[in-house]
Structure formats: C-alpha cells, structure tokens
C-alpha cells in the first residue's frame, strides 16, 4: 500500500497481506503537516497513531494470550477458592507475591483489564476511519484503467469483429450478471474502457468481524453489570423462591438490586439419578414444578444436565445432587427435639457424604451428630465406605456429641460444620434405616429414612443474546474476509484501424487481485475465454463469419 506499512492504516488490519493494493487505506498524515502543530498535540497524535498501529495491536494480542496463561496454570479464586487457600498455605514465599500481582484472579486483575482495554481502544481507533473509508469505497466507481493493461499481473488480448462499444457492452452484460461493479469510460481515438471490480464483501466481512468482537465484549460487560448467579440446595419436596435470602451463594453484577430479581419459584418434585455398573453417572433428572410469577399456574419441567429451565429471563441449571437422611432426635427430657432431613455433602464419587446434625433445642444439653452417610455401605478395615453411588444399602456412621453448640456466641456458623470446642463426644454407631442410636445419659437418634437433594444454579445474563449475535457476526465476518477476494478487471476495446477485415477491434483485458493471485489467474483465464467466446457466439448467430482460429493476437 503506502510507503509506511508500519502504521496500521485501516488496511493492514486486514487479514490478508496481499490485499493492500485494493484497499481503502488513507495516506498517513505526513510529518510536514504535523510539524506546524503545537508539540503536545503532535505528541498525542503520534501516540494515538502508535496505539492504533498494527504492530501495537499485534503486541497487545500477544500480551493478552500471555496474560491468560497464568490463569490456567495457577488456581483461580473465581473457579476454586479452596485451592487458592491451599496453594497459599504451601507456597509461603511465592504465594503472597503471586497474590499481590493478582495471579489468583487473573481475569479480574487490573493489568489484564489494561491489556484488553488497550486492545479495544486500538481496535476501535482503527475501525472507525476504516468503516468510513469502506462506506465511501462502496459508493465509489471502479477506478479508471491503467494505461498499459499488459503490465498488470494477468492480461490478455484478442481481436474482435465487433465495434469497440459492442465488445464492451457484451462484456458488460456478462460481468454484470456475475455481479461485478462496472463503469465504462470513453477513451481517446474511439477506444472504450470498462472498469470492473468485485469482492467488496471482503472488507465488509473484515469490518463485521472486528465490530462483532467489540459487540461481544459489550455483551460480556452487560452480563457482568446486570447479571447475577446464585446456587441453592433444594431437597426433594421442598421449594425455592427467587429472593437473595434463599440462595446459599449469590454473586450479583455491579448494578443488580435485590428487589429486582424476577419473582419466580419452583419445587423439586423428584430427583432421579442412574449409574453405570462401574459407578460412573449415566443420567441425572430433576422434575420441578415452577411458577414464572407468584400468581402464575404451576408448570412441570425436567431439569437435566445440558437441559436448564428457562424462566422469567433467568435459567435454572442442575449442578449437583446428594442424599439427605431423615433423623428424629429425642432429647434427655423425652421430647422430640429434631425431626428433619439433613443434606449430606458428597466427599467422593461413590457419594460417601459428610453429615452434620445440630440439635440446639435438646434439653438439658444441646446435642450434635457428625459422621458419614454411605449409599451402598461396605465394611472395610478403616471403617464403612461406599461402593456405589446409588442407595442400594444405605447407612450412616455417626458420632454423637453433647454440650454447647456455640450458636449463641454470635459468630456465624455453617450448617455443615461443627464447632466441637465445647462438645463432648458421647458415642458412635453405624445405623441402617429404621435403626436407633441410644445416647448414654438419655436421648436417642433414629434414622427413619432417606430423601435426595439437588443443587441448582440460577443464572441471569442479560448480555447473553448480544454475545450470541456477536458470535454469529464473528464467524460470518471471518468467512467473508478470508474467502472473498477483492479483484479488479479492466477491458479496453480499441478500433483496430483496418488491420484486417474481420478484426474491427483490439480487445485488451487485464486483471489484478492482491489476495490469492493463483486462484484469480485461473478465474481470469476462464473469464477471458468466456468474454471472447461470447462475442464469437453473438457473431455466429448474426451470420457473421467466424474469425479464423489463428487471428487471435
């Protein structure tokens, strides 16, 4: 293109190098004009040109790739906070250093944002003038023919019996039907030239691709600002209503207010899981009945993996499941102090699950139980284990505590962990459904039955459809910009000046394509053949003698 290839005129962002000559690249501002500006303005201008240059963009792209790498090699808070804590505990010197540079939260780190924001600015700064130029190019006429068509990368010539105007008109109709953009210009001495250009979609696709990238980032940002994500554990038969208080975890976007959550709700009617003989999961299926609004009629839906429930602009995903044994606890005073199902947290892929039961209402002392639930219980030298994830032989191994649960201390506690500081272990026992564990000093726990629970993730992402549309734009734009070739064709028909009786006109044809020249050469040869043959056919039908085979050239 122009003398300075290091500046990314809108052109060089194009994906194909050879395209440059057909581009709508502006001539870079010459230093002469910049010299008259006040220094800061010139410096700013230089900085801007530097930022929007291709080299900078390349460098930023490369930096972005490099920046993403630690995010996959080091544990990330957003994905697995427990692993980060473990890593920090085992790497005393490197850990805090990494942490200071945000390496455990790379994709939210300021330096990562800096790289991609610079890239976005560089991209936008390059796109805007380029779009303007392309719009102008779309309206512009194909350029006039160079003086010597024979000097073009591909060219040919032949003689025709038709007058110059006729020869050009025939070519015009042939090229026009192949959707070339055409313009004829009269030349000196009765010559007629035809300029043709095709493949504007290449640049269009290129621009669509890059604009779509920006739209995609907008969609991601929209989701980050207005979206939310929460998880909730629901036992079979229990319900959920979409308010922040009901979530186990909740991550709102920056501008999400609690009052604006869509007021839908659902009840988990049944959860079913099936497994392969080796214990690997085969299917998960949660049947829910849901209401999109509190006053709407309930509807049923099967939430499965890969099959979320879309409701009121949000989506409900099935992300986990487990067992909830049902316990009835009688306290030392003989009262029923606890009667509920307790969700146990799976610890391995055979669903050996950690159970914690807290009985704050027990008298005279508070009671607590902790232990493991095993859906298919087998006895091993180290204790009871689970051999299969389905509840074929369920059992619980519980350790009973008596004392003070510490709930009144004011420090919040997880329902899944026990603070045993002021608790005394009193007995331990393995129970099958229906069995009872009697506590020394009065009281008992009865394992009455089993139910299942499922965890759901509720996600609302208002930027989702924007991102999807942008993705389609990205693929379509890419295909156009990599597949379509921009090419130009010129035809000059000059009166032959009586060279021979059946050669009224010398036709010259030249072509130019910056990308994929070999393919264009083939296309050119085919086109040239057709254009010449067309003339011959027309003549034949007009009963004009065919030109002799040797008369070409």
């Amino acid at each position: 293109m122009t003398s300075d290839l290091t500046t990314r005129g809108p052109d060089t962002a194009d994906i194909e190098p050879e395209d440059a000559g057909l581009s709508t690249a502006p001539v870079p501002v010459q230093p002469a004009s910049a010299g008259r500006r006040p220094a800061p303005a010139a410096a700013l201008r230089r900085a801007w040109r530097q930022l929007t240059s291709m080299r900078t963009a390349l460098l930023l792209l490369f930096l972005l790739a490099l920046a993403a790498v630690p995010g996959s090699l080091l544990p990330q808070r957003g994905l697995n906070p427990i692993k980060v804590t473990r890593y920090l505990a085992s790497h005393r010197t490197l850990g805090p250093l990494f942490d200071r540079f945000g390496l455990f939260d790379v994709f939210a780190a300021p330096w990562f944002a800096a790289v991609y924001l610079l890239l976005v600015i560089s991209l936008a700064g390059c796109l805007v003038p380029r779009i303007r130029l392309h719009l102008a190019a779309l309206r512009a006429a194909p350029p006039p023919a160079p003086r010597n068509l024979g000097r073009l990368p591909v060219s040919t010539r032949w003689t025709s019996a038709a007058e110059p105007a006729e020869a050009v008109a025939a070519a015009q109709s042939r090229l026009g039907s192949a959707r070339w953009r055409l313009l004829t210009r009269p030349g000196p001495d009765g010559a007629v030239t035809l300029s043709a250009e095709k493949g504007y979609l290449r640049e269009t696709g290129n621009l669509v691709f890059h604009v779509s990238l920006l739209v995609l980032l907008t969609g991601v940002a929209l989701g980050g600002i207005f979206g939310y994500k929460g998880t909730v554990l629901v036992q079979q038969g229990a319900g959920f209503a979409n308010t922040i208080g009901q979530y186990d975890t909740f991550k709102p976007g920056r501008l999400v207010s609690a009052s604006r959550l869509a007021p839908f709700g659902f009840t988990l009617e049944q959860f079913r899981a099936s497994y392969q003989p080796n214990g690997a999961a085969r299917t998960f299926d949660a049947t829910v009945s849901y209401r999109s609004k509190p006053d709407a009629a309930p509807r049923r839906y099967d939430v499965r993996v890969n099959h979320p429930l879309p409701v009121a602009g949000a989506k409900v995903y099935l992300i986990g499941h487990g067992y909830a044994p049902h316990f009835v606890v009688t306290d030392g005073a003989g009262n029923t102090a606890f009667d509920a199902s307790v969700p146990c947290l799976p610890q391995d892929d055979k669903f050996k699950s950690l159970c914690t039961v807290k009985v704050p209402d027990a008298q005279p002392d508070q009671l607590a139980f902790s232990g493991f639930f095993t859906p298919t219980t087998v006895s091993t030298p180290t204790g009871f284990e689970s051999a299969y994830p389905a509840p074929l032989a369920p059992g619980v191994t519980l350790l009973a505590y008596r004392g003070d649960l510490g709930l009144d201390s004011g420090i919040p506690q997880s329902v899944y962990t026990l603070d045993t500081q002021r608790l005394q272990p009193v007995s331990t026992q393995f129970l099958r459904p229906g069995e009872t564990m009697a506590l020394p000093g009065g009281g008992s726990l009865r394992f009455t039955g089993l139910t299942e629970w499922a965890t759901f993730q509720v996600t609302s992402d208002p930027g989702r459809s924007t991102a999807l549309v942008a993705s389609i734009g990205i693929v379509v734009g890419l295909l156009l910009s990599l597949r379509v070739r921009r090419r130009r064709l010129w035809m000059r028909a000059t009166p032959a000046g009586g060279l021979s009786a059946d050669a009224a006109t010398v036709v010259e044809l030249g072509g130019l394509a910056r990308s994929d020249a070999a393919t264009f050469a083939t296309e050119f040869a085919a086109l040239a053949g057709e254009l010449e043959a067309e003339r011959v056919c027309a003549e034949a039908s007009d009963d004009v003698p065919m030109p002799a085979a040797g008369s070409k050239e």
Partner: protein
C-alpha cells in the same frame, strides 16, 4: 445400551492396520523426496508447456496507474497459466513478482529471480516433475495413505457404533479423530495442489500421535458421563477435530517454510547452506508459505466456530458461556495466536519468518490444550478422561 464388544475389537484392530499403512506411506513419501528430482531446482528447469514463463524479474514496472497502490500490487503474483477452459490455445500472460521499489516489503525470498513461483508451476502441468521411479513411489504412497485413511475411518465408525455415540468422547478417541482429520485435510489438499511432499511431514505426527493414543491414552469403548449427553458434543468436538487436522497440515507446511526460507536466505547470502540444504527437496518458500496460510485461513473460522459452539454448550451445561476454565483459556490462547499469525502476515517486519514462528507457537498451544490441560490441569473439561 450395552457396548458391542465385537465392534469395539474390530475398531482396535483397524486402527492398528491404519497406523501400519500410514507408517509405510510415510516411508514412501520420504523415499520419493530423497530420490526424486522434485525440488526447486528440478522445478525451475521444468518449464511448463506452452507458456512463456517470464524468467526475469521486472523491477521497473511503472504503471500509469490511477492509484499508486496498484503498482505495488503487481508484485508477488503467479507466473503463467496455460489452462483456458474456453479459449483453447489462449495465452494469458502473468507478470512475475517484481517489486516496484516503494512497494511492500515482501516475503524475504532473496534467492535469485522472483521468478514465477511454485504455485504457478503447481497450477501448470509439470510433467518432468511427476515421472520416474520416485514419483511412482510417491503415487503408491498416496494410495497407501488412502488405504490407511479408509481403515482409520472404519475404526472410528466401528467405535461409534460399538458405543452408540459419536466416537470422540475421550482423549484416545479425540486423538484418533484428530489424526483422521489431519490425513483427510492432507488428502483433500492433495486434490487441489501438488503438495505430495507434505506427506512425510503430516504422517509423521499422525503416526506418533496414533501410537501414543493406542498405547498410553487408550480407553475402552463405553458410554459417556451425563455432562456429555448433548448434540453439542457432535458439533463442538467435530469442529475442534477438523481444525486440529487442518492446523496439523498448516503446521507441517509452516515448518517446511522455515526450512526453505532459511535455505534461500543462506543461498542468497552465499553462505554455507548446511542442514537447510534439505530444502532443495522442497518447493519454494513462497509456495510453502501460501499453503500454510491457506490452511490456517481455512481452519481459523472453524476453530472460531468450535470455540463459539463450546461457549453455547457451556451456557447450557454449566450456566455460563465463558468462565476461563483452563480448556477455555487455552482455546482462547490458541485463537489469539492464530489471529496474531494472520495479522502478522500483513505487517511489515513480521511477515515471513516471524509470522511462521507465530504459527508454530499457535499449534504448540493447541497441543498443550490437548495434552497439558487434560493431563496436568483439572478443570471442567476433566471428564474427557485419559
């Protein structure tokens, strides 16, 4: 439905024979390259029939072009073509790759005349290059490759039917499908361009990876975990498999480009050619670069689509379309590297060798995503299994 053991065993047998066929074919291609006269030198002397191949560099092109930019455009263009579907004996003249001085800094082919380059020679019939014992060996190698491809395809189909699903649900199956895709890409390319020389360099990684697949990565046929029960498995992984195959071919071409470019550079500098002399067996650097570029340009949109399909699937399966899971991160890194390659090819100071190195880096990140992420890093894609 239970696994059909008979078909599973058939699949395992077929893949063994496919590997054997590929290995034999690879040796055949190597023999052709070693004993043939297909290199640049042979190619140069073998002028295409019936065309006036311009032999000199035209440095003084001075078109009275309406736009100065057009002048530079006359560079790097194919030589001549003889074929003319309609016109019979038509002569279409091509201009050789002259540079107009102020024009683009083109690829660094310093070696001698910017003569009609290999692509034009490819397009033309080069009879001298395709006869002789070596060429016969080459053609037999192609036939054996096709045979191996058929066995390989049979192995995958049998595996799919034995497990009643698409046969790319774990690492072993992805390796097998990816290799099939690479061989397919090579064979398809072969029908369009004279790229038989690529055979050795495509089949070498294929044989190595397949060998690794059947020994280390092997997993017996079986059903998939629920997370993979989705038609997106067919869409997302198929796109990834295809792009893997296409990128394999482009990587082979890129690596050869680097060798040929080094050879030409050294030749031009009059220095010692050394090891790069092996490039005598290869087409010109420009032709290799173009083959590499074309395959990346073909594979890149497919890879983009694979990532987008994966995002759509992730949205359905995990509740978000992008979450920087290690697999996603590395897919992104690969994407960025190939985007960098495509851009670098059009940036002065980057095109040529640096762009090619970027292309190699991009494929390395693809491989790391397959091996490294699956083996060393746990993430949501971990169920893919070794």
């Amino acid at each position: 439905m239970p696994v059909n053991q008979g078909l599973a065993t058939l699949s395992d047998n077929l893949i063994f024979w496919a590997i054997l066929a590929y290995a034999v074919a690879m040796l055949g291609f190597a023999a052709e390259a070693a004993f043939g006269r297909r290199g640049r030198v042979g190619r140069r002397t073998a002028a295409p029939r019936g065309v006036s191949a311009p032999a000199t560099r035209v440095d003084d092109i001075d078109l009275a072009a309406p736009e100065p930019a057009l002048v530079g455009a006359a560079s790097s263009v194919a030589g001549s073509i003889a074929a003319s579907p309609a016109g019979g004996g038509r002569r279409v003249t091509g201009r050789p790759g002259g540079s107009s001085g102020r024009g683009a800094a083109r690829s660094s082919a310093g070696a001698g005349a910017g003569a009609a380059d290999a692509d034009a020679a490819d397009a033309a019939d080069t009879p001298a290059a395709d006869t002789g014992a070596a060429a016969t060996i080459g053609r037999i190698a192609v036939a054996i490759t096709v045979l191996g491809w058929a066995l390989h395809l049979g192995s995958l189909v049998a595996r799919g039917y034995s497990a009643h699903r698409v046969p790319w649900g774990n690492m072993y199956e992805f390796a097998s499908a990816g290799c099939l895709s690479a061989v397919t890409a090579y064979l398809v390319l072969l029908t369009r361009q004279k790229v038989r020389y690529l055979g050795t360099f495509v089949l070498l990684p294929v044989v190595l990876l397949l060998g690794l697949a059947v020994t280390v990565l092997y997993a017996s046929a079986g059903p998939l975990v629920p997370a993979l029960h989705s038609y997106w498995l067919a869409i997302h992984v198929t796109a990834a498999v295809i792009s893997f195959g296409v990128f394999t071919v482009s990587t082979a071409a890129t690596a050869l480009y680097l060798a040929a470019e080094r050879y030409q550079r050294r030749l031009a500098a009059g220095g010692k050619v050394g090891l790069s002399g092996i490039a005598r067996l290869l087409p010109s650097a420009e032709a290799l670069d173009r083959t590499a570029y074309r395959s990346v340009a073909f594979g890149f949109p497919i890879w983009t689509f694979a990532i987008i399909a994966g995002a759509i699937w992730a949205e359905a399966a995990w509740g978000r379309y992008w979450g920087w899971d290690p697999k996603e991160t590395w897919a992104f890194v690969t994407w960025v590297c190939y985007a960098g390659y495509l851009h670098a090819r059009s940036t002065a100071g980057w095109r040529g060798r640096k762009a090619a190195l970027l292309g190699l880096l991009a494929f390395a990140t693809f491989l790391f995503n397959y091996f490294g992420v699956n083996i060393w890093i746990t993430g949501l894609h971990s169920y893919a299994g070794i």
